[in-house]
């Protein structure tokens, strides 16, 4: 009768657990005997069990009160929608272009004519280029984070559940891969594959799962010994059922938080690589490669340095804030203290 377990399990509380749960309560009420204190305790416990909301409901409630996180989520959604839908509309409405070079209009300052954020060294409209760049940067971040999380969860669960040879191999691989400084590894890999954005998603996904894998593995190691897993096991539940029904729901909150933070870090990584000229290659714009030649704009077009950086910074900040907010929302201790 541990509220902590209960919160962790959330809605996915399986029937079996509910049964043991009820049994426990009965058992407690039965064994109370003469001690009044124990009686009241068991009442409290029962009340809590009746009133307690699921992990998801608790998290939602917490998020709704957390204005900063809400704002960050709102910004991210708006930014994503803007990057997906706005660029062609703006190009049509204002008669500017993100791809057409125009020597006459090079290095125009923001607000010149129809150029909301000015033009770059080739006379292309910076505002629409930023939005097109956002498609790439956000796309890479979303795609690669989902991919690395998926790999991380699957490998982490397998390694944590089966231990033995799989675990040793995974551990060796992780130790090796994480002993090469990430930036060198990424440089090597992107030199080899000269990635398009799609390939970049795969590469970053393939290299980014280590942290998630470690976290999930650690969680699974603990969960495996927990009563509800042991009980399911002894009742003869097949392995895939234990994994999907009993273990996965308990790591999902961890996974969501990691996913958000990961997406932010991936934008930093992608823009860093593109800045070095190794990530997304021109003419495809990305927030990072718009800064590759920044040093040559120092005298002529400072707006070309300021804006791509602000986009990266603001987006990453939003992802991190959402990640922090979600971590708080999913934290059972926090939830209880907020009650």
């Amino acid at each position: 009768m541990n509220p902590h377990i209960q919160l962790c399990c959330g809605e996915r509380f399986s029937e079996l657990e509910l049964l043991t749960h009820v049994d426990e309560v009965k058992h407690m009420t039965a064994s109370v005997g003469s001690s009044g204190e124990a009686v009241s305790k068991s009442k409290v416990v029962r009340l809590e069990a009746a009133q307690s909301r699921s992990l998801w409901a608790e998290a939602l409630l917490h998020i709704r009160r957390d204005r900063l996180t809400l704002l960050a989520i709102f910004m991210l959604v708006m930014l994503t929608l803007a990057c997906v839908f706005l660029p062609p509309l703006i190009e049509q409405a204002l008669g500017v272009s993100a791809t057409r070079t125009n020597v006459a209009d090079r290095y125009r300052p923001p607000g010149f004519g129809n150029y909301i954020l000015g033009t770059d060294n080739l006379g292309r409209d910076q505002f629409t280029r930023l939005l097109y760049g956002g498609r790439v940067s956000l796309g890479v971040a979303y795609g690669a984070s989902v991919m690395s999380i998926t790999i991380g969860v699957v490998v982490g669960m397998l390694a944590g559940y089966y231990r033995g040879l799989i675990d040793d191999l995974v551990n060796w691989f992780i130790t090796t891969l994480s002993s090469i400084p990430t930036i060198f590894l990424l440089i090597l890999v992107s030199v080899i594959f000269s990635p398009t954005p799609e390939v970049l998603i795969i590469l970053l996904g393939l290299l980014g799962w280590i942290t998630t894998c470690r976290l999930v593995r650690g969680e699974v190691l603990g969960l495996k010994e927990r009563d509800f897993v042991v009980a399911a096991h002894s009742l003869g539940a097949p392995t895939h059922r234990i994994m999907l029904q009993h273990i996965l729901p308990n790591v999902i909150s961890l996974v969501i938080v990691t996913l958000t933070i990961d997406a932010g870090s991936l934008i930093l990584i992608e823009s860093g690589l593109s800045f070095l000229g190794l990530g997304v290659r021109p003419p495809t714009p990305s927030w990072g490669n718009m800064l590759t030649d920044a040093r040559t704009y120092l005298a002529t077009g400072q707006h070309l340095i300021i804006w791509p950086g602000i986009m990266i910074f603001a987006t990453v900040l939003c992802f991190f804030l959402v990640g922090d907010g979600l971590r708080d929302a999913f934290d059972p201790r926090k939830v209880r203290s907020a009650k």
Binding site: W172, F173, T175, T176, L177, S179, I180, P181, I183, F184, L185, I187, L188, V189, V191, I192, S194, G264, L268, S271, G272, F275, L276, L278, L291, A294, R295, L298, A299, Q302, I305, I306, P308, G309, I312, F313, V316, L317, F319, F320, L321, D324
Partner: protein
């Protein structure tokens, strides 16, 4: 202690083997061939390119190339003229015997090329890490002292912002503000200094160091301050702190003797991990400020397909990283007597 060191060293061997294998396989998958970048001009003799290829062992199958690279080829004959018979003994001694090969572009030993870039990288990373940790710990302590007051909130904001800001952009903005608009600091030119004076002159280099070190250190500050804050708050909640207060110890003594000592243990081990990043932490910052360090060397080598230099740098920085982890473990044992090594 010695047994512990030996065990840790033994544990590092499979990892190092994996690293060498991985970087070698990645190298093989690289498109483009160093020979073609050398003999790019059509006036060159194609036969000479073939000879060079054989001399460098690039005509061998991958596994043989890997073995040569690992343990050298001075024990076997190399077929230079392509007639199927060995002509001369190889000259390479292999990585295991300290020979990282010749840089194909610079035609000098890789170890030498890397060696002369390392001081510049250390000149950037050592002050950054020291400064970053000092400022980070102080800010973290102040935040914990003012828990849930303005300074604490400000620290949390600083740490999130510091993590989210891309270092290369921060560097560019500093250049924009302090070099271009205010004309206070040089935006690059560290390379000139290292070449002009054979010796190193701190006073001359200082202006060049200010901006890169600031950018590098800020990243560290945002991590360390957050970590320190959490550690101190956790230490404050421990029973021994309550006991110390209960027996009448002054706040200052509680802080010095009980809180700080315990909170700093994990931070010291974090410092050990940072040592591992001394060589590889500043690649992008070096690029922004045209800093003549290992990071720029790697980027240059990449564009010139200089395989031996790339592999040498990867291996050396990986060894540094593993050493950092070991130092971190050792430090843990040193500062925390409860840990038996």
């Amino acid at each position: 202690m010695n047994a512990f060191l030996l065990r840790r060293l033994a544990q590092a061997i499979p990892t190092l083997f994996g690293i060498s294998l991985l970087s070698f396989m990645l190298m093989l998958a690289t498109p483009g061939d160093p020979i073609t970048t050398i003999t790019f001009r059509p006036s060159n003799d194609p036969g000479a390119a073939q000879t060079l290829r054989r001399q460098l062992g690039l005509d061998q199958p991958p596994l043989v190339q890997y073995v040569y690279w690992l343990i050298g080829n001075d024990w076997t004959m190399i077929d230079v003229d392509g007639d199927g018979e060995g002509d001369v003994y190889g000259t390479r001694r292999g990585v295991l015997r300290g020979d990282f090969g010749q840089s194909i572009q610079l035609k000098r030993p890789v170890l030498e090329v890397i060696g002369e870039r390392i001081p510049a990288t250390l000149l950037l990373s050592v002050p950054s890490i020291l400064l970053g940790y000092f400022v980070g710990i102080v800010i973290g302590m102040l935040a914990a002292l003012n828990h849930q007051r303005l300074l604490d909130q400000a620290t949390r904001v600083l740490s999130v912002v510091g993590n989210a800001i891309p270092s290369f952009w921060l560097g560019l903005m500093l250049i924009l503000i302090f070099s271009v608009n205010l004309n206070l600091l040089p935006m690059s030119g560290m390379r000139d200094i290292t070449q002009r004076n054979a010796g190193f002159n701190l006073l001359d280099s200082l202006p060049y160091m200010i901006m890169p070190v600031t950018v590098f250190a800020l990243g560290i500050v945002s991590v360390v301050s957050r970590y320190t804050r959490v550690q101190i708050l956790e230490a404050l909640a421990q029973d021994y702190v309550r006991t110390a207060r209960a027996k009448g110890l002054s706040d200052r003594m509680v802080w010095l003797i009980h809180v700080l000592r315990n909170a700093l243990i994990p931070i010291v081990t974090l410092l050990g991990v940072s040592i591992g990043f001394l060589l590889s932490g500043a690649v992008i910052i070096e690029q922004v400020f045209s800093w003549p360090g290992l990071g720029r060397l790697v980027i240059e080598a990449v564009s010139q397909r200089d395989y031996p230099v790339i592999m040498g740098s990867v291996i050396i920085s990986a060894v540094m990283y593993i050493l950092g982890l070991m130092i971190s473990d050792l430090l843990y044992g040193l500062v925390d007597p409860r840990i038996q090594l």
